[in-house]
């Protein structure tokens, strides 16, 4: 193993708010996920989510925090989630952590180069690259279904991988 190369890899954390909590993914290099999962929050969503996000960020002290860019009228995120993302960004900046944001369009542009466009295709592609994510992949969503909570893990992972693709 090249130790010099190991040292250069940044610790990158992504948070993806979901209807009942948030998904997150922490990587140290595009092929080295260190932690991933969902934190469920049912009451006082933004207050509790922000508290748990702060605990996560404080514990891991990432070099970079990646969030979704909800700017613009075409963002489909609700106001509550937009506020949560803004608060998360504010906290991270106060902790002197670099914050990078990507829109859903940007993520799709990156993954389309790997023949993955929809969320489901992106999650399958992530599992192909990182088999340890496979047990968490949700079934393909049908028209009448709500989004599976597990998809937020893959949304977070896609944010991190987009970062590595574009920045590293």
């Amino acid at each position: 193993m090249n130790n010099a190369k190991e040292e250069v890899q940044k610790l990158v954390l992504a948070i993806d708010p979901a209807p009942r909590g948030f998904g997150y993914a922490l990587f140290e290099g595009p092929q080295n996920p260190l932690d991933w999962g969902i934190t469920e929050v049912r009451i006082l969503k933004n207050i509790t989510s922000l508290k748990k996000i702060k605990e996560l960020v404080t514990f891991y002290q990432p070099d970079v925090l990646v969030l979704e860019d909800c700017a613009g009228d075409k963002s489909r995120r609700c106001k509550r989630v937009q506020k949560l993302i803004a608060k998360t960004e504010e906290f991270s900046i106060s902790q002197k952590i670099q914050v990078v944001k990507y829109s859903r369009n940007r993520i799709q542009e990156v993954f389309s180069m790997f023949h993955a466009k929809t969320k489901y295709q992106i999650s399958r592609k992530i599992c192909e690259w990182l088999p340890e994510f496979s047990p968490r992949i949700p079934p393909k969503r049908k028209v009448w279904m709500s989004e599976d909570p597990r998809m937020s893990i893959f949304d977070a992972a896609s944010l991190v991988l987009t970062y590595y693709y574009l920045e590293e």
Binding site: V8, N32, P33, L34, D35, G37, F59, E132
Partner: protein
């Protein structure tokens, strides 16, 4: 595995696909909450538990808890330097010289547990 985090216990568990309850059972611990405390570093794993983790994941302690190892290594090396200075004040018998020689070799080692410098 790189050495930026203090502990990689959770990472190895996630990659293996095991739950906290699974690990608690393998370690003969009462519940998954004990594993949660260990993974969040609010509880330092005991030696038998750490060794059991090494067996489960087939890795060395330095791969699992590099932060803990780094702290312990620094503390031991600091005490080694203090002991060396104390011995140097004593009369230079062969035994004292041997002890000083050993302590110098100890403090001269680039400890494997030391974390790489952050970029």
């Amino acid at each position: 595995m790189s050495k930026k985090l203090d502990t990689y216990l959770r990472t190895y568990r996630l990659k293996a696909g095991l739950s906290q309850k699974d690990i608690a059972f393998l370690l003969s611990l009462g519940s998954g909450s004990a594993i949660s405390r260990i993974e969040k570093c609010s509880r330092i794993p005991s030696l038998p538990i750490l060794l059991a983790y090494c067996i489960i994941f087939n890795v060395q302690p330095k791969d699992l808890v590099p932060g803990l190892l780094y702290d312990i290594a620094n503390a031991v090396l600091a005490r080694a330097r203090v002991l060396e200075k104390q011995l140097q004040k004593q009369s230079a018998t062969p035994l004292v010289l041997q002890r000083i020689k050993f302590l110098r070799s100890l403090t001269a080692i680039k400890d494997d547990a030391a974390r790489p410098k952050e970029v």
